[in-house]
Amino acid sequence: MTSILDDYALMSPLRSRNNWLKLMIVAFGLLAGVSATSPIPPLFIALCMSLATLLLGKIPLSFYLKLLAAPLGFAVMGVLIIAFFSGSGAELYSFNLVGYSLAIRADGAELASLVLSRSVSGMCCLYFLALSTPMIELFSVLKATRLPDSLLELSMLIYRYIFVFLDMALCIKFAQTVRLGYGDFKKSFHSFGMLTGTLFIRSWEQGEKLFISMNSRCYDGKMMLFEARKPVKAPEVLLTSMYFLSTIALLYLTRGVSVI
């Protein structure tokens, strides 16, 4: 079975911390990152969040870097385009490409570094949440946001059966592969069609079995949700407030400071 983000979150020691605290930290990080006018505070946020994920959350470094690499690749591409095609002011660097002159100007570089740092901080914040709070913890948060019960129940059932069907799909895929179902392009096409068709029928059957099994346990429109009480402890408050205060101070001090 493939390992997915949710599995790391389930194993993380940060899972047992208060969900609202984690959400608050992430929300604060996102807002602070976006409202910064200098690249320094977002980079500070990214650093803090990464450290928290790696040291407190015990996520392996190699896995974390691999996760970051994908969105970072996109961000860098976008940032390069911004750097070359926007802004005015002093020319920092230029070269000729088949008769066209391409140049990075001071303004453009400033904007590009800001965008890059903001996106990195955003990514780090979201990964902190994804790697410390598994879906099953978020259900109780969703409950508190007064989402309709039926929607919530449905999402809980869907969450559970994603894994059942994932397993099923992997098994079918494997069974097809060992009988050379993916030998060439045409066969792969055919096999994949069969896979999806079978999955559809299986999920239909599963739905009926689910109905019976829920009924035989007296289903009455109630899925229990238990938010385990996880009080916020003093060290957590201390650490969080230190982080908040230093970020705010940094935001204030670096108003309009440019790095170029």
Binding site: Y161, F163, S213, S216, C218, M223
Partner: protein
């Protein structure tokens, strides 16, 4: 006290195929009940009828003597009292975490929060999974999933727990865990009903067994008596429990005391008869460890066949010309096995062979031969493990015929010859209908075998 009773229960699927018919059962409180039958014999459907998920076409289900009603209030009652554990745990575990799944039942029974928590904690403790309460089910092993499923039912504190194939897809250790758990629940007063096709399990574990075949109940009784009836088992497409099979073979050879039904290995060992020792006059020149030929016994001294040759091993020589010997008896008239090649098959010929050759035991090997025999209504005593069973029968002095075709004839012949060479017991083996085959009937003419020790 009868807790569940059914009267003339019948149910068919929407496409009119009958799933169960004419089911009359009476389940006593606090018992361990097993429904045994092949896959597709209607066990699962019967279970869904018992907790009111399906409504019978005719007949009724009585719970504590009162007929089941199918309004939602009565259904809640019956489902609380009769907990159902499904064969595939993934059908049953639908909540995101173990805790939520176990809490599902009690929460839907409108228990107050504290009681729900108490129920869940107790159930999880019972199955020994308290430490996994916050895990999602897809992080659990097959055995753990099954235990969570059982806990989910236990949390509702049912009077009867019904488990459909509780041991399917479990490793031996996981299976033992589940059975221990069920025994424990039973010890504390729950009535447990399981379905299984594992005859060994049903024989060993249950207090009472119902045998199902082709949507019908074909037999019931305490396992010791029910599993003796080999005819009935064959009808249900099942074999005898292996401990009972071993015991019967031992009993037939006089190595075990008769009329017992050992369930476990120790019981089997207890049934064993010590070797027969005897005082004899010691011929001159004999030493301890030698083999002594005592001649032939017949009549009531040889219980297993008309004649028995008796050899004895000298264990101890007494000073006054007496010796203690251990008896080794071999039936002198071993039976024979005829292999009939069904590649060229003729029904009258087989009938003739059976009659002329005094054949009392017919087996068929291979799908084709079985079909041929079935079409012509030849009664087959055995269809699985044919060679072994035929050898065992021949050893008791009977004559057997194996219907088989293709390359299987050589294979069977070789297997039997190997046995003859290994054991030193001269069985008659013949091949009929094969070009280079032996004319078996002539070879059978009361030839007295060489008796070897």
């Amino acid at each position: 006290m009868t807790i569940i009773e059914t009267k003339g229960l019948k149910y068919s699927y929407p496409d009119r195929t009958v799933a169960v018919r004419d089911i009359n059962i009476k389940i006593e409180k606090g018992k361990k009940i097993a429904f045994v039958g092949q896959n597709g014999s209607g066990k699962s459907t019967l279970f869904l009828l018992l907790n009111g998920t399906l409504k019978p076409e005719t007949g009724e289900v009585l719970f504590h003597g009162k007929p089941l009603k199918y309004d939602s209030k009565s259904l809640r009652e019956i489902r609380k009292s009769v907990g159902l554990v499904f064969q595939n745990s993934d059908d049953q575990l639908f909540a995101p975490t173990v805790y939520q799944d176990v809490a599902f039942g009690p929460a839907n029974l409108d228990y107050p929060r504290e009681k729900v928590e108490a129920c869940v904690n107790r159930a999880l403790e019972c199955v020994g999974l308290s430490h996994l309460r916050d895990r999602p089910p897809h992080h659990l092993s097959g055995g753990q999933k099954k235990r969570v499923a059982i806990a989910g039912v236990m949390a509702m504190e049912p009077e009867v727990i019904v488990l459909d194939e509780p041991l399917s897809n479990l490793d031996p250790v996981g299976a033992d865990d589940i059975m221990d758990l069920l025994n424990e629940f039973n010890h504390f007063g729950s009535t447990i009903i399981i379905s299984t096709h594992d005859v060994d399990l049903a024989y060993r574990w249950s207090d009472y067994v119902y045998l199902m075949s082709n949507s019908e109940l074909i037999g019931e009784g305490v396992p010791e008596e029910l599993f003796r009836q080999t005819e009935l088992l064959k009808l249900a497409g099942l074999r005898q429990p292996s401990s009972l099979e071993v015991y019967h073979e031992l009993e037939r050879r006089g190595l075990a005391c008769g009329y017992q039904s050992p369930k476990t290995l120790p019981e089997l060992v207890n049934a064993l008869r010590p070797p027969e020792l005897m005082w004899v006059d010691a011929p001159p020149g004999i030493r301890e460890g030698d083999t002594l030929n005592l001649g032939i016994l017949y009549g009531e001294y040889s219980p297993n066949s008309p004649y028995e040759a008796v050899n004895a091993k000298v264990l101890h020589i007494h000073p006054e010309g007496k010796a203690i010997v251990e008896l080794k008896r071999r039936s002198i008239k071993a039976g024979g096995i005829l292999l009939y090649d069904t590649d060229s098959y003729s029904y009258p010929e087989i009938l003739h062979l059976i009659e002329e050759g005094d054949i009392t035991f017919v087996g068929a090997m291979g799908k084709k031969s079985k079909t041929l025999a079935e079409e012509d209504g030849i009664f087959l005593d055995v269809t699985t493990g044919v060679i072994d069973k035929s050898i065992l029968t021949a050893l008791c002095g009977k004559r057997c015929m194996i219907l088989t075709g293709g390359g299987m004839v050589e294979h069977a012949f070789k297997r039997i010859r190997e046995y003859v060479e290994m054991s030193g017991i001269e069985l008659n083996v013949g091949v009929f209908n094969k070009e280079e085959g032996l004319p078996w009937i002539e070879a059978f003419e009361d030839s007295v075998e060489v008796f070897r020790t």
